[in-house]
Symmetry: C2
Subunit: 363 residues, 2 copies
C-alpha cells in the first residue's frame, strides 16, 4: 500500500467508523472505544523452547485472540532482551510488562519463592493446583510478590520430574559423595547434605558440561524434554523416581502498574489464559513422556534405573532438615511453609484413599 493509499484507507476507515457510531441506538451493536496495548514478555527459557517456551508463546497468542488484538504480547526468549535470570527484575522494575519462569529461580529475593515452584518430597501437580487455586496458596504467593510490584499466576506444570542423568550407577547414598551434579534450588541443598556438589548451569550449557566432565550428573525435566536436550549422548543412566521436583509449577507474572492500567476485561483474559496454559503444559508432558522414554531406552541404549530405597529414605530425611531451615528463615517464609505443610497433610490424606488407592488397583 502506498503512503497516499494508506492515508486514504485510514481516512475512509475513520469516516466509516464514525458513521457506525453515530447510528448507534438502543439494540444496535455497542460501540467501544478501546485502547490497544502492546506488551513485552521476557522469559527464562530459550526462544520457543518446547512446551515451556511454547506455553508462553501460546498464552500470548490466546490473549491476543481473546482480546481481538487489543492486547498484543511480544514474547522474548531468555537473553533476547535480558538474561534469563533477570526476568524477575526486568518486570519488577517495569522495564517490560510481563514475565514467565519458575519461582524457585528467585530464591535470592526470598527463600519462600521456592514453595511456589517445587518442594523435594512435596506436593505433585494436582495438589499444587488445589493449593494455589482453592487452598489459599495463590493469595500467599501474591503477598510474597507484591513488594516487588509483581502479580504472579500459575501458568504451567512439568508433572513429576525424572531423577536425572548420571554417568555412573547410584547404589547407595555414598555415591553422591563428591558427585558434581547440575541441580538447582532445594534439590541442590539436599545433594550438598549428602556430600555432593550442586552446580548451577543454564540450560544451554549442561550438555557440554556433562560431555567434558565438568559435571557427573544433571537433572532436567522428563523423557520428552530430556530427549530433545540430547543428554542420552553423554550420560547412560537415567534415574527415577525424581524426589526433588514432584510437580514443578511454571509461573507468569505481570508488573503491578501495567496490570492496574488494564481494563477489567483484559485482566480477566490474562488470568484465564494462564490457567489454560497451566493445564496445557502438563497435558503435553504427560502425553509425550512415555513415547520418548521408549525411544531413549530402545533406540539409544539408555539404562532406566530406580533409586535404591536407602537413597530415597536418606534424602527424605535431609529434605525435612532443609525445609525446616528454609521455612524458618524469616516470618513470611515461616507463614508460607506452615500453610504449605498443613495443606499437604490434608490433601495427602485424601490422595491415599483416592489417587493412590486407585493406582494400586490398576497397576
Amino acid at each position: 500500500m502506498s503512503k497516499q493509499n494508506r492515508r486514504d484507507f485510514l481516512k475512509k476507515a475513520t469516516v466509516t467508523t464514525a458513521a457506525v457510531a453515530a447510528a448507534t441506538t438502543v439494540g444496535a451493536p455497542a460501540v467501544h472505544a478501546k485502547k490497544t496495548y502492546t506488551w513485552r514478555m521476557v522469559t527464562t527459557w530459550p526462544p520457543h523452547f518446547p512446551v515451556l517456551g511454547e506455553g508462553a508463546d501460546k498464552m500470548a497468542e490466546w490473549i491476543e485472540k481473546m482480546s481481538g488484538g487489543r492486547l498484543k504480547i511480544q514474547v522474548y526468549g531468555g537473553g533476547e532482551l535480558v538474561p534469563p535470570l533477570q526476568t524477575f527484575d526486568a518486570v519488577s522494575q517495569g522495564m517490560v510488562e510481563m514475565g514467565h519462569g519458575a519461582s524457585y529461580y528467585w530464591a535470592g529475593k526470598s527463600p519462600a519463592t521456592q514453595f511456589f515452584a517445587a518442594v523435594p518430597f512435596g506436593m505433585n501437580a494436582q495438589q499444587m493446583n488445589a493449593w494455589l487455586y482453592s487452598g489459599g496458596g495463590l493469595e500467599l504467593w501474591e503477598e510474597l510478590y507484591a513488594p516487588f510490584n509483581l502479580k504472579p499466576m500459575p501458568a504451567g506444570n512439568t508433572g513429576v520430574q525424572m531423577g536425572g542423568w548420571f554417568n555412573r550407577e547410584i547404589n547407595s547414598v555414598k555415591d553422591f559423595k563428591g558427585l558434581k551434579m547440575r541441580i538447582p534450588g532445594l534439590g541442590g541443598k539436599l545433594l550438598a547434605k549428602a556430600g555432593g556438589t550442586a552446580v548451577l548451569s543454564a540450560g544451554g550449557e549442561i550438555y557440554t558440561n556433562l560431555e567434558r566432565g565438568v559435571i557427573d550428573a544433571t537433572e532436567w525435566v522428563g523423557p520428552y524434554h530430556d530427549y530433545l536436550m540430547g543428554f542420552y549422548k553423554v550420560a547412560k543412566y537415567y534415574y527415577y523416581p525424581g524426589w526433588h521436583e514432584p510437580g514443578t509449577v511454571l509461573e507468569t507474572f505481570v508488573n503491578k502498574k501495567a496490570w492496574d492500567s488494564l481494563p477489567k476485561d483484559l485482566q480477566e483474559i490474562i488470568t484465564t489464559a494462564a490457567a489454560r496454559s497451566n493445564i496445557w503444559m502438563l497435558s503435553e508432558f504427560e502425553a509425550k513422556n512415555n513415547t520418548y522414554l521408549q525411544k531413549l531406552i530402545n533406540e539409544h541404549g539408555v539404562k532406566l534405573k530406580k533409586f535404591p530405597d536407602e537413597v530415597v529414605t536418606t534424602m527424605r530425611g535431609y529434605a525435612r532438615e532443609v525445609l525446616e531451615e528454609v521455612g524458618n528463615k524469616d516470618k513470611q517464609s515461616k507463614k508460607i511453609y506452615e500453610h504449605y505443610l498443613k495443606f499437604q497433610k490434608n490433601v495427602r490424606a485424601w490422595a491415599k484413599i483416592s489417587e493412590i488407592a486407585y493406582a494400586k488397583i490398576t497397576s
Copy 2:
C-alpha cells in the same frame, strides 16, 4: 432511573461515543462496532449446585467479564428450562446455545460418549486431560458430537470418585448379588455382571430412595459433595477406592450454528474459560475432600471401608468384558475405544515411573 432520565442517558451516551469515534485517528484508541450476544446455557445440575453448577456459573461469569459484556450467558439449573437429561437435545436442536453436563449421560445417542466421561478402571483426571488436550482425544470427541450439531469441550473433573455408600458391608463380590444400587453408566453394567441391580435416580431422589430402602447403596462423587448431599444420615458404610469413575470429565458444549455465528475472539474466550473451569473444579474437590471426609468420620460416625482385593479383581475382569462389548458396538465406538486404550497404555507406563513411583516414596 426514570424513563425520561434513561432516554437522556442513552442519548448522551450515543453522542459521546460518536464524538470519540469521530476523533479517531492513527494512534488513537481503536473503535470497534461489535454485536452483543445473549445466550442461555442449560445444565444437568440442580441450580448453583456446589462445584459442578458453580463451575458452570463461574464459566459464564468469566466469559462475560472477558468479553466486556459482549457475550452474556444465562445459566439454568436442570429442570428450570428443560429437564436435566434433555440438556443434550435442547442444545443439539438449537433451543438454547450452550449446555453443561457429563458425556456418559448421552450413552443413548452413542455408546462411545462414555469414553469421554468415565471408564471403570480407566484413566484418571490428569491422564484424561493429556488424552483430550494433547493426545487426539478432543478431536475424536468433536467428531462424535458433530452429527448432533454440537461442539464439546472438557470443562471440569471430579477426580477419583469414592466407591459409594452402602447400608451393609461388602466382604465379597457375592454381596453385590441382589444389591440395588444407584450407579449410572458403565459402572452400572459392571454391577449387573456381579448380580446386582443398577438403579437410575436423579440426584434429588437418591437420599429418599436410600432412606426408604428403594435402593441399598449409591455412589455419588466424593466426601465434599457427598457430605452436602447428606448420605451419611441414611447409610453407614463409605467405600474406597472407587473403581467405576476414576476421573470423571465434566463437559460443556455449544450448538454448532451458535458457535459459527460468533466472532473468533468470543470463540477463543469460550475455549479458554472451559479450560480454566476444568482445572478449577478439580482443584475445588481436591482441596476440600479430606476436610469433609474427616467430618463424616468424626462427627457423623461414618465407617470408612476398603473394598476387599477379591471384589476389585473380579470387578476389573467384568470391566474388560463390558468395555469390549461397548467398544465394539459400532465402527466409531471401536475407533474411539482403541484410541483410548492405546493412549492409556502409553500414559500408564509413564505414570508407573513418575506419579505412582513418587507416591510410593512419599506415602
